[in-house]
Amino acid sequence: MSTEQKRATPSRPALSPKRREQNRREFIRTSILGVGVLGATLAGLLPLAGQANARLRPPGAIKDRLQEQEFLAACIKCGQCVQVCPVEAIRLADLTDGVGIGTPYIQARDQACDFSCDGLQCVLACPTGALTHDINYPGQARMGLARLARPESCLAVRGQGFKGQARGADFPGLLRYEAVNRWLPIPVADHPYDLELCDLCLRQCPIEIRLAQCAAGAPPSGDVNQCPPRPAIRLDKLAGGGALPVVLDGCVGCGVCEMICPVEPAAIVIDIDRVADAAQVG
């Protein structure tokens, strides 16, 4: 087709100078919009720089220490894990987490994961494998690692007992006390303690509870696979009547010790950048 013929085609008339100017302006406007969209998109990566979005993740989250790229990529941000958790330990991150928006995390001090679902419901609920289905039992989880961050304030180290509600009357956090109700977690505030020497971190540790059940020949759900392979925490007697909590390599980082610790701030906390045995991290 020659140029004259092209011009003669009515569906493609030559553009008037005015129209061409309009098109030019529209192109510039659209380019500005594009820069805006691109900027907003890349801004989502900013929180990663300062690891502002590093958080305690639910059991089975695919991550290696603070390297969360795979987890953030695989998570479809639907919150199905939130919906199945019996103690409502899981929350969803906000816009401040950038690309981590809508991803699940656990604020252990407020509400830890106490594995009272036994079956890792959040892992089962995950539609994308961001919470990897490679783990089947609580003892296999590697969320983080407990650490006695403030031994000087630890009641056990100081040789003190504990009497009353572990976190006060207004604390809304839940735990499952098998002696009270095997199926329904209850508020920690409804379960006061009277201890000669505070051992709450050991006493409420879901791994230690399971080990004790297994030792007594009654594993959870009657399933021996539920028995954790190794202990998670122990109290070493100190001269002068106190005891030192020692975190062991069976610790899964669930955060119950941090949640139940009655002193403020908690003497024992979860480090999210460490796990008991790195080999088992997904």
């Binding site: 529209e26 998109t41 479809i76 969803l92 906000d94 539609p127």
Partner: protein, 325 residues
């Protein structure tokens, strides 16, 4: 085949093609000559419009659509709030009585960023693909997306303000959305992060409804303000990749809005109300190639044009259904 090509052209941002002198069917040429003979006066036009404005079913499709959109989104909320496990999750991914569903655009991002696909995600994605293949692609936008409803209300405010010159309507090139779409795909692939999800008002609103409000709503509010004061329906028209993803599915879908040129007054009420008015360019006098034309895949099947048309020239139809029945 022509429908699909024209559909894709419009979806990707090109102007609808105009018929050449020999492109129109003889029947249409004859009809248009006849129509020109019956002079349509301004009074007749206004009378037809006024009649439609008073009709009992003038909001039929809008009401059905709003009811559907609100019900679906509330189903998520109710399901979680009362723990009835009917529709668990959010719009990005969910389970309907235990059966997996995954939003196509969210699933696409996860697949691109994570590069592993678990079976549950395949099940969810294929199911949702089939649903929208049957129901018409961008039908998701106007019948399900919670942002669409807010934007629709914001649009009313925009039009009210614009009439008084208190708001502008800056137009962008619709092809920008296609460029952004490629952007999002490449950036997601390269960075390994689901970058669009951070900006998605659909995901943000769905999660806010179900799990409670958060700071992210400020972003949604900013988008709405932009649409009210700067550019009408800008997010859905010029940016959102969810619309493109569902639009691509809609190219193959049999559910369409059909235009019949016969009684059309060509007054353009439909184009004035439409989210994607370019799909209705065929209603401009002289654009129709055939007696009936199906709207392309960029159409969200919202039904506003069907509701407003004073001559019943636009209607929903399912391609091939008349042959089956």
């Amino acid at each position: 085949m022509n429908y699909m090509i024209e559909s894709l052209r419009q979806l990707l941002g090109l102007d609808p093609s105009k018929p050449g002198p020999d492109d129109r069917r003889q029947a249409v040429v004859t009809l248009m000559t006849e129509k020109r003979r019956e002079k349509l006066t301004r009074e007749m036009l206004h009378a037809a419009e006024a009649g439609r404005a008073l009709a009992a079913d003038r909001h039929k499709w809008r009401n059905r659509r709003w009811a559907t959109l609100i019900t679906l989104n509330l189903l998520f909320v109710v399901s979680y709030f009362f723990d009835v496990q009917l529709l668990e999750g959010a719009l990005t991914a969910s389970r309907f009585v235990g059966f997996h569903l995954a939003d196509l655009n969210s699933a696409l991002q996860v697949m691109l960023a994570y590069e592993h696909i678990v079976l549950n995600l395949v099940i969810g994605t294929v199911t949702v693909f089939i649903i929208w293949l049957l129901l018409g692609g961008r039908t998701f936008c106007s019948w399900v997306c919670p942002y669409h409803l807010l934007a629709e209300w914001a649009e009313k405010l925009h039009l009210w303000l614009a009439k008084r010159k208190w708001a502008r309507d800056i137009k962008f090139h619709r092809g920008g959305r296609t460029v952004f779409y490629v952007f999002f795909i490449l950036l997601t692939l390269v960075s390994g992060y689901t970058l669009f999800e951070t900006l998605s008002p659909t995901g943000i609103l769905s999660r806010a409804l179900i799990y409670g409000p958060g700071l992210a709503l400020v972003w949604v509010l900013a988008l709405l303000l932009f649409e009210v004061f700067v550019s009408r329906r800008a997010w859905c028209r010029y940016v959102c990749p969810i619309g493109v993803t569902y639009g691509l599915v809609g190219v193959l879908s049999p559910v369409r809005v059909q235009y019949r040129v016969q009684d059309c007054h060509h007054e353009g009420d439909c184009r004035a109300i439409c989210l994607v008015p370019h799909v209705l360019d065929v209603t401009i006098r002289g654009r129709a190639r055939d007696l009936t034309t199906d709207m392309g895949a960029d159409c969200t099947r919202c039904g506003l044009c069907v509701d407003i048309c004073p001559t019943n020239s636009l209607s929903f139809k399912v391609k091939g259904l008349d042959k089956v029945l």
